[in-house]
Amino acid sequence: MAAAAEGNNEGGGVDILSHILDSHELHLGPLHIPLPHLELFGIDMSITVHLVMMWIASLFLLLTLISTTKKRGLVPSGFANAIEALIIFIRDDIVIPNIGKKDTPRFLPFLLTAFIFILACNLLGLIPFGATATANINVTATLAICSFMAMLVGGIRHNGFIGYFVGLIPSGLPLWLMPLMIPLEFLGLFTKPFALAVRLFANMTAGHVVIISLLSLIFVLNTVVVAPASVIFALAIYLLEIFVSFVQAYVFTLLSAVFIGMAIHQEH
């Protein structure tokens, strides 16, 4: 993002994608740090920029969140208040209405972690030298797979292995619809995590593309006249992006909870 200004190449055009795509070099202003290439069991396990960003976000989360639990007592203070408010919000407004009070303790840690992890990755993409790990389809797909696993675990634990898959098909349908419904419902099983992955990926990518495009106008048109407009619009989109970061983390968590709830309570 901050490096956007350097993004013009010789042709006068701007390679927007290079700012969004994953890379093997960490760009800290003029400093370019190459990241190690790794290969395990024939799989390319290279450390990429997005992975580093995820690690930074994770480290930040672990350090700040664990420090809030150090001073434990029934009366909260400071930052612990905010974390508690977050927990209560996600528990009482997202998880309990969708999953039910009984199963909430099982899925609350996953949904809380998903929310705060996605939020941290989203916001990390908005600070200088940062990159948005959640604008990478591989990352969002993995998160969606975790969500999918939670759905399967919830559904199978509650309804039994066979019961869960049989329960996917709505009861009371005429028999001749079955050849249509069975593949449809089976497909429906996978569209949920697919939607989760694509929604987060597309939202986080789009905002950055817009911001970089607006700033690139200055270089594409090769004039400073558009600079004020570009910067103002980019700033507006940036502020919108902050909002979108929260909204997408919330939406991912909410939809995961809804899908888990649907897997558990199949008749609804």
Binding site: D22, S58, R72, I87, R91, P109, F110, F117, V139
Partner: protein
């Protein structure tokens, strides 16, 4: 390019996310949610306790009021009883004193009557004897003793009636 799959990154993401999930679950979400539950129960307990204490206090006040009313009633009853007793004793004492006085008066009256009767009797006899003696000495010679005694006795017998009347 934007949708290029990267299996290595998927595996890394999975490892990272699961690690974060486990660590946060163990050290943050677990303690914080249990603390929230604890606080909720402690607040609920405190409220329940306050309610119970309030109920107990009002019950105690009610009891105190009742006890006070009972004590007042008892005191009133005791005062009434004492007054009744005192009145009854006073009346009895007065009645007995009156009766005794009446009796004493009666006795005295009877004694006086008796004494008077005796005195009258003695006076009558002595008067008769004195009269007989005097009359005998005066009229010893010429008067039939038996006939005269009768006259004198009749006369004497008339005397006390005349005196009494």
């Amino acid at each position: 390019m934007l949708l290029d799959p990267n299996v290595g990154l998927i595996i890394w993401t999975l490892i990272t996310f699961v690690f974060v999930l486990l660590v946060l679950g163990k050290f943050v979400w677990g303690p914080l949610t249990s603390m929230l539950d604890e606080r909720e129960t402690s607040i609920r307990e405190a409220l329940d306790l306050a309610d119970k204490a309030r109920a107990e206090a009002s019950a105690a006040a009610e009891e105190n009021k009742k006890a006070l009313a009972e004590a007042q009633a008892e005191a009133q009853a005791a005062i009434n009883k004492a007054r009744d007793d005192a009145e009854r004793v006073a009346r009895e004492v007065r009645e007995r004193a009156e009766a005794e006085a009446q009796q004493l008066l009666e006795q005295a009256r009877q004694t006086i009557q008796q004494e008077r009767n005796q005195a009258l009797q003695a006076l009558r006899q002595q008067t008769a004897e004195l009269a007989i003696l005097a009359a005998g000495q005066l009229l010893e010679e010429n008067l039939d003793s038996e006939k005269n005694r009768k006259i004198v006795d009749d006369f004497i017998a008339r005397i006390p009636d005349a005196q009494q009347n």
